[in-house]
C-alpha cells in the first residue's frame, strides 16, 4: 500500500476510535470510571431491548428483558474488553468465562433445577442467545452455545442421576467445560457414516476413532461422544457417551486454524483404546442418533437468535461509520444506494426475527418446529453473508482491515451456512416437509 493510503487508513482508524468511544460532554463528570468502563466500551447501538413494549412482545416478558440486561452487563464488563486479545491469541479462557456465566445462572437456563439449572422454557434460552450476539466476535458465543445447547440437552433429558451429577451439574455451574464429538474427518453432514466405535468389554466400553471440528476441544474436561456401539442399521446402532478428556488414549491431535471464529479453539481429537465405564452412556444404547436429532431444533433456533443481534450490530455500526465518513463532500450514508441497501438488510433481519420468535412461541407450547427451525437456520446463514458482504463494501478500505467489527463478522459468520447443519441439509429437511423429494 502507498504511504498516503496508509496515512489515510490510520487517520480513519483514529477517527473511528474517537467516534466509537466518545461520550457526550454532559456525562463527562459522572460517567467516568463506573465499574471498569473506559475506552474499551465500544458504542452500544441505541436500538437495545425496549422495555416499553414488554406487554406486547410475542414471547418476552419483564423477566426476559431483565435477564438480557444483566447478561449484557457481564458481556460488557468481563468479555468484550478482552475479545481483541483472545482473537489474536486464537483461544479464550473457557473455564474463566464459563464460571462467570455459570455463577450468574446463564448456563443452565432451561436445564433441571436439581442440577443447578433454572428449569425455564426455551424462550429464555433464545433470550440468552440473542444477548450473547453482543459479544464482539462469533467464536465465544459459539463456544457458549456448544456448552449450553449442544453437549448437555440429551444428558439432561436421558442421562442417569449419577451421570448428571458428574457431568451436567458442573457444566451448568461453569466448573467443567464440555465439547461435542459428532463430526468426523470422513463424516459431517452424513452423521450416520461416523466410524468411531465403542466395543463393550465387561463393564467398560473401549473406544477407538477420531472426531473433528470439536469446539472447546483443547480446553474441555469432557466430551459428549457419538459412537457406534453395535453393527445394526446406522440410525439405531449409535450411542452418546460422556467421556472425560483426561483419560489415557484421548489425544488432542491439533488445534485447527480457521478462516474465522479465531477465539474459539477447534480441535481434532483421537481416541486410542480409551476405556470408559459403561455407566457413562447417556440413556439407552442405540438411541444416540435419535437423541442427537431431538435437540437439533433448539440448536438451530439458538444459532439464529445469536446471529440476529450480530447482524443488527453490524448494520448499526455501518450506519454510524458511513454517517461520519465523507466521500465527494457528503457522508457516504447520504448516497441512496447505501441507505436503501441498509434498509433492505434491516427488513430481512426483522423478517428473520419474526420467524425466530414465532417458531420459539410454537416450540414452547410443545409443537414440532423442525421445518421452521430449518428455514430460519438456512435464512440466517445466507442473510449473514449478505449483511457482511454489503456492509463491508460500505466500509471501504477500513472494512478490509482487522481493526473493525465488520471484517471479523464477515469471516466469522461464513460458518453459519456450514456448521450445525449445512444449508444443503436444511434444504433437504424443508423439501421433505414440502414433499418434493424424489421418492426412492
Amino acid at each position: 500500500m502507498r504511504t498516503q493510503t496508509d496515512m489515510a487508513l490510520r487517520e480513519g482508524a483514529l477517527r473511528l476510535n474517537l467516534l466509537l468511544n466518545s461520550r457526550t460532554f454532559y456525562k463527562f463528570n459522572s460517567s467516568v470510571g463506573v465499574r471498569s468502563l473506559s475506552d474499551n466500551v465500544l458504542s452500544k447501538p441505541v436500538t437495545s431491548s425496549a422495555p416499553e413494549i414488554v406487554g406486547d412482545h410475542i414471547i418476552y416478558t419483564q423477566e426476559h428483558f431483565a435477564l438480557k440486561e444483566s447478561l449484557r452487563k457481564i458481556i460488557d464488563q468481563e468479555i468484550n474488553p478482552h475479545v481483541e486479545q483472545w482473537e489474536a491469541e486464537g483461544i479464550f479462557p473457557a473455564h474463566k468465562v464459563f464460571k462467570i456465566l455459570g455463577s450468574a445462572g446463564f448456563l443452565g437456563v432451561n436445564k433441571p433445577v436439581e442440577y443447578g439449572g433454572l428449569g425455564l422454557d426455551y424462550s429464555y434460552s433464545v433470550a440468552v442467545a440473542e444477548e450473547l450476539g453482543h459479544i464482539r466476535c462469533g467464536g465465544i458465543p459459539m463456544a457458549i452455545g456448544v456448552q449450553t445447547d449442544m453437549t448437555t440437552p440429551a444428558l439432561a433429558r436421558f442421562g442417569s442421576a449419577e451421570l448428571k451429577q458428574e457431568f451436567l451439574l458442573p457444566s451448568i455451574m461453569g466448573d467443567k467445560v464440555a465439547c461435542l464429538g459428532v463430526s468426523e474427518v470422513g463424516a459431517g453432514s452424513d452423521v450416520s457414516s461416523i466410524m468411531t466405535k465403542a466395543v463393550r468389554k465387561g463393564d467398560e466400553y473401549v473406544i477407538n476413532g477420531g472426531k473433528m471440528w470439536t469446539t472447546n476441544g483443547t480446553q474441555a474436561d469432557w466430551i459428549c461422544l457419538l459412537v457406534n456401539t453395535s453393527d445394526g442399521p446406522p440410525h439405531r446402532n449409535k450411542s452418546l457417551i460422556c467421556v472425560p478428556m483426561n483419560l489415557p488414549g484421548v489425544q488432542i491431535a491439533r488445534k485447527i486454524e480457521k478462516l474465522g471464529m479465531w477465539s474459539s479453539d477447534t480441535a481434532e481429537v483421537f481416541f486410542d483404546d480409551v476405556h470408559v465405564p459403561c455407566k457413562n452412556i447417556i440413556g439407552q444404547e442405540g438411541m444416540g442418533f435419535t437423541y442427537q436429532m431431538l435437540q437439533f431444533q433448539e440448536e438451530r433456533l439458538w444459532a439464529v437468535a445469536n446471529i440476529l443481534t450480530m447482524m443488527e450490530n453490524v448494520i448499526q455500526e455501518t450506519i454510524q461509520y458511513t454517517r461520519q465518513r465523507k466521500i465527494f463532500n457528503r457522508p457516504v450514508l447520504h448516497h441512496q444506494s447505501v441507505h436503501f441497501r441498509l434498509a433492505e438488510l434491516q427488513t430481512e433481519v426483522e423478517l428473520l426475527r419474526a420467524l425466530l420468535h414465532s417458531a420459539t412461541a410454537l416450540y414452547i407450547k410443545g409443537n414440532d418446529v423442525t421445518k421452521l427451525a430449518s428455514m430460519a437456520k438456512l435464512k440466517g446463514g445466507r442473510l449473514a453473508r449478505e449483511v457482511g458482504d454489503s456492509c463491508l463494501q460500505f466500509w471501504g478500505g477500513m472494512g478490509f482491515t482487522s481493526d473493525v467489527l465488520v471484517s471479523r463478522f464477515y469471516r466469522d459468520s461464513r460458518l453459519m451456512s456450514i456448521g450445525g447443519g449445512a444449508d444443503e441439509v436444511m434444504l433437504g429437511i424443508i423439501c421433505k416437509y414440502m414433499d418434493t423429494l424424489p421418492k426412492k
Binding site: R23, T24, F25, Y26, K27, N29, S30, S31, G33, V34, R35, L37, V41, S43, K44, V46, S48, A50, P51, E52, Q62, E63, A66, L67, E69, S70, K73, I74, S103, A104, G105, F106, V109, L118, L120
Partner: protein, 254 residues
C-alpha cells in the same frame, strides 16, 4: 430499631446514550431512549444487600419515585437482593418537575414510616448531577449524614464512614439512624443473577402516592430553557509569547 435500610434508586437515561435536546429546548429527549438505574444507586443497593448478607441489618427496602417505568428500576434492585420495593407514583408534569427537595421530603416521610435505621442513596444522579437529595433528607429528618462514602462499617449503634473529599479521605463516626450517600469506590455492584431475577418476580412492590405520605411535591423551580453545550470552536496558534499576550489583551481576557 427495625434493622431496616431504605435505599433510594432513580431511573435515569443510560450513561452510554448520546443525549439530544428537544427542538423546542424545553428538555432532553427521553422517548424511546434506553434508561437504567443510576450507577450510584446501584452502588447504594449493593452496599445495603452486602450489609444484610453480613447480618448487620435485617431488611432492604428499595424506593423509587416516578411513573410506571420506575417499577423496572425497583425490580432490578430486587433482583440484586433487596427484599421489597415501594413505588411512589409521580407522573406527567409533576414528574418533570420532581427534584431533590421533593424526593427528600418523600424519603424522609418513608424513613419515618418504615422506622428505618439507615437511608442509603447514591451521591448524585447522572442526569442532573444535583448531589442534594441525601443531604436534604438528612436535614429534614435531623439525622446525621455520611456523604461521599467510600467505606462503611457498623460499630455498635454508630457508623464509621470514610468520606471522599477534595483533600483526600475523611473518616467520621456518626450515630444511627443516619443518611449515607454512596460514592464510586464504595463497592462493585453485583450482576443480577438469573435465579435472583426470577425470584424477584415474587417480591412485593407497594404503590403509594406522595399525598398518601403527606408530602407536597410542588416545585419552586421552573426550567426556562435547555441547551446543548456550545460547540467547541477552533483555537488560534501564535508564534511568540509577545504575540500571545497581545492577542489575549485584544480579546479582553487580560
Amino acid at each position: 430499631m427495625s434493622g431496616r435500610v431504605l435505599v433510594g434508586v432513580k431511573r435515569v437515561i443510560d450513561y452510554a446514550v448520546k443525549i439530544r435536546v428537544k427542538p423546542d429546548n424545553s428538555c432532553v429527549v427521553t422517548d424511546g431512549v434506553k434508561h437504567s438505574m443510576n450507577p450510584f444507586c446501584e452502588i447504594a443497593v449493593e452496599e445495603a444487600v452486602k450489609m444484610k448478607e453480613k447480618k448487620l441489618i435485617k431488611e432492604v427496602v428499595v424506593v423509587s419515585c416516578g411513573p410506571q417505568q420506575a417499577m423496572e428500576t425497583i425490580r432490578t434492585a430486587l433482583a440484586m437482593g433487596a427484599d421489597r420495593g415501594i413505588h411512589v407514583e409521580v407522573t406527567g408534569k409533576d414528574y418533570e418537575n420532581l427534584g431533590p427537595l421533593q424526593v427528600s421530603k418523600i424519603m424522609a416521610a418513608l424513613a419515618k414510616k418504615e422506622d428505618a435505621l439507615l437511608v442509603i442513596l447514591g451521591k448524585q444522579a447522572i442526569d442532573d448531577d444535583c448531589n442534594q437529595t441525601g443531604q436534604m433528607t438528612a436535614a429534614l429528618l435531623d439525622w446525621p449524614q455520611g456523604t461521599f462514602a467510600s467505606e462503611l462499617s457498623m460499630e455498635g449503634d454508630k457508623i464509621k464512614v470514610v468520606r471522599e473529599i477534595d483533600g483526600g479521605l475523611e473518616t467520621v463516626k456518626i450515630n444511627t439512624p443516619a443518611v449515607i450517600t454512596a460514592d464510586l469506590r464504595l463497592n462493585t455492584p453485583r450482576y443480577a443473577t438469573l435465579p435472583n431475577i426470577m425470584k424477584a418476580k415474587k417480591k412485593k412492590i407497594a404503590n403509594v402516592k406522595p399525598a398518601d405520605l403527606g408530602v407536597d411535591i410542588t416545585s419552586r423551580l421552573e426550567v426556562l430553557r435547555v441547551d446543548e453545550p456550545a460547540q467547541r470552536e477552533a483555537g488560534v496558534k501564535v508564534e511568540t509569547v509577545d504575540d500571545l499576550i497581545a492577542r489575549l489583551k485584544e480579546a479582553g481576557r487580560i
